[in-house]
Amino acid sequence: MTLAALQEEIRVAAARAAPLRLRGGGSKDFYGNEPRGELLDVRRYAGIVDYEPSELVLTARGGTALAEVEQALAEHGQCLPFEPPHFGAATLGGCIAAGLSGPRRAAAGALRDFVLGVKLIDGRGRLLEFGGRVMKNVAGYDVSRLVAGSLGTLGFIAEASVKVLPRPSAERTLAFEMAEAPALDAMNRWAGEPLPVSASAWHEGTLYVRLSGSAAAVQAAAPRLGGSELADTVAFWRSLREQTHAFFSGEAPLWRIAVPSATAPLELGGAQLLEWNGGLRWLRSSLSAQEIRAAAERAGGHATLFRARDKSAGAFTPLDPVRLRLHRELKRAFDPAGILNPGRMYAQF
């Protein structure tokens, strides 16, 4: 599959005003609102274009399997610092379009923080390049980071350059028996101290804290925190990242509630699992979207209906009128015919 062919397909669809559903591995079909439109499978536009470990930058085509990217990095002792979830046969382009970060987000930064540049085919079939392969670049608006998390509504991510980092040489996970409120307190307190905390989670009375870094740093920090050591640190964090942990099984709707990390426990009916020092609160609950979103809003956050059979309430917290207008205007700038993943983010565009 060539870029020219993809550009042509998008051009033709735009001329026909026929919606396209951009899709990589389909691992996040569940995410956002119902996908619609004619399927444009982009997996054939794949391959790592450039990877020079000493540059800390990897450039790959959008259809490249995320697993292949991580494998290439692992061979050189490097990693994607934001630990993105795969949820199946994910592609790099899909990963960036979804914008989801994993356990290390609170310590290392979000996916968008590591996007350095993209090649994008917009809704008119134009091939556009923004950003680049360097760490610092302030020429023009930062479109490559706007594209991160845009759910394919602005264009097809044909190629992306991401910043990568060395894998920590040592990693340990400590577990503490602790109720939710003191756990929130501990997570936020430790995040404010010079400790190599790289991930945190709380569920059913246990607080988990992962330390990552040089062997010297991890060894010095562990006794200061106390707790008991978890045997399989890799498997545990993978079960959160990939949602294979028992908390995520079952039929109850799964909500992803984002709040300022120090927010007190949210009194909402349903089981919860906390990550990111308390900034992310997963909730299994059949409460109404209204109730859950109101609670999130009161805390200064927002709630996403992450996995549910019925998404009629809308996957994402609605936008205020000014922001909604800006979204529509931006959509018009990138995709005037409105054919790229329409409605996937918000029904209005």
Partner: protein, 493 residues
Amino acid sequence: MGEAVSLSLSRRHEVARALREFLPARAVLFDEEDTRPYECDGLTAYRQLPMVVALPETEEQVRRTLQICSSMNVPVVPRGAGTGLSGGALPLGDGVLLSMAKFMRVLRVDARARIAVVQPGVRNAAISEVAAPHGLYYAPDPSSQIACTIGGNVAENSGGVHCLKYGLTLHNVLRVRGLTIDGEPLELGSEAPDAPGLDLLALAVGSEGMLFVVTEVTVKLLPKPQCARVIMASFDDVEKAGSAVAAIVAAGIIPAGLEMMDRPATRAVEQFVGAGYDLDAAAILLCESDGTPAEVEDEIARMEAVLTGAGAVRLAVSRDEAERLRFWSGRKAAFPAMGRISPDYYCMDGTIPRKRLAEVLHFIAELGKKYGLRCPNVFHAGDGNLHPLILFDANNPDELHRTEQFAAEVLEKCVAVGGTITGEHGVGVEKINQMCTQFRPDELELFHAVKRAFDPRGLLNPGKAVPTLARCAEYGRMHVHRGALQHPELARF
């Protein structure tokens, strides 16, 4: 602008009168002696008196100022401390210069949540000062940090010497509140992670005051590292120093700071601040490690080994905090030091892939010979962000002309090797022509469309950062006839 010029006096009084309806007299300046201090920012070669300067103190006053300007079709140029290096805050002769200097309050420091909520006129360094009692600090540290404001940092996506490890402004700002040109309030980002919708905050940071006016900023605070030490490594060859930078990163080390200065630069700063630099070295690297004492000890030892392996001829490790600050003092004083050895200097800001460092340095040295101009180099080597400083005398038209060509060639080389014309200073008015080299017409057209989404009538800081396609066509022609620049009377620096 012709019409505006001919009507300028009555127009000025009309706008000033409208602003004085809700702003006190001292907050609306229009006499030349009052507006003169605002005629330029840190890029002093470009000067323009604004029609009117407005100095609001409350968000409500900013809102009304914008509404007035919008309704009267008056362009608005926002300004922080005016330390920017690309002319982003250069006023317009028919516009209002909107100074945010009075927004100096720290609204909230929440040590538990590790955030600070500040007004845009708060100085960068002041945030770390108020956070210090909690063991926290604000990481981005541009060299101008004692003067520059957070609002300006947001507009430019400012970096600093520690951004290899701790990121740019973009990575350290959680939320921005602002007003559109029509005075509508706008909240971008959130204190909660991953705000819903498109990442408008990413778009806003670095937008050079062209999308909206910042009225409040929430920044992330980090725990202050327990200790930091810096290695000064000497090399007898500039290219070896460049290769050593790649070797450190390849060894899996992310130093807190990784800076390089060549001999012309170290010699210039040494007489200015006495940092204790090795003046015999062709280039020095400053490699900083921070963290817990155990971490730092471990990392310093690893960096020493890599640097020695890469051909360093001498290593000096800071023994205490005073010595560490002394090693950095020279780097931080590099720009003012150049001002002492040359009537004028022109600072470039291109960024390149690290692996092309040696090649580009060599290229710059050759250009120096070609144009007969000195060009010391200081740069953020860790992230490939070059700051070559061309020394010239602006009173000598030929030198100015050669400097201009020299700079253009360097920036075009940066683009050619896969880099960018600006890593942290912004495009402003200064590098607007080079935008035509870095971006194609379709991409520039999209930038204009993004601006229109926020500012349909193009009233916020118009003419900056993104060139019109007509201008690029003109610049292209200028290139073809290099050496025969049109409009030589126009100041370009």
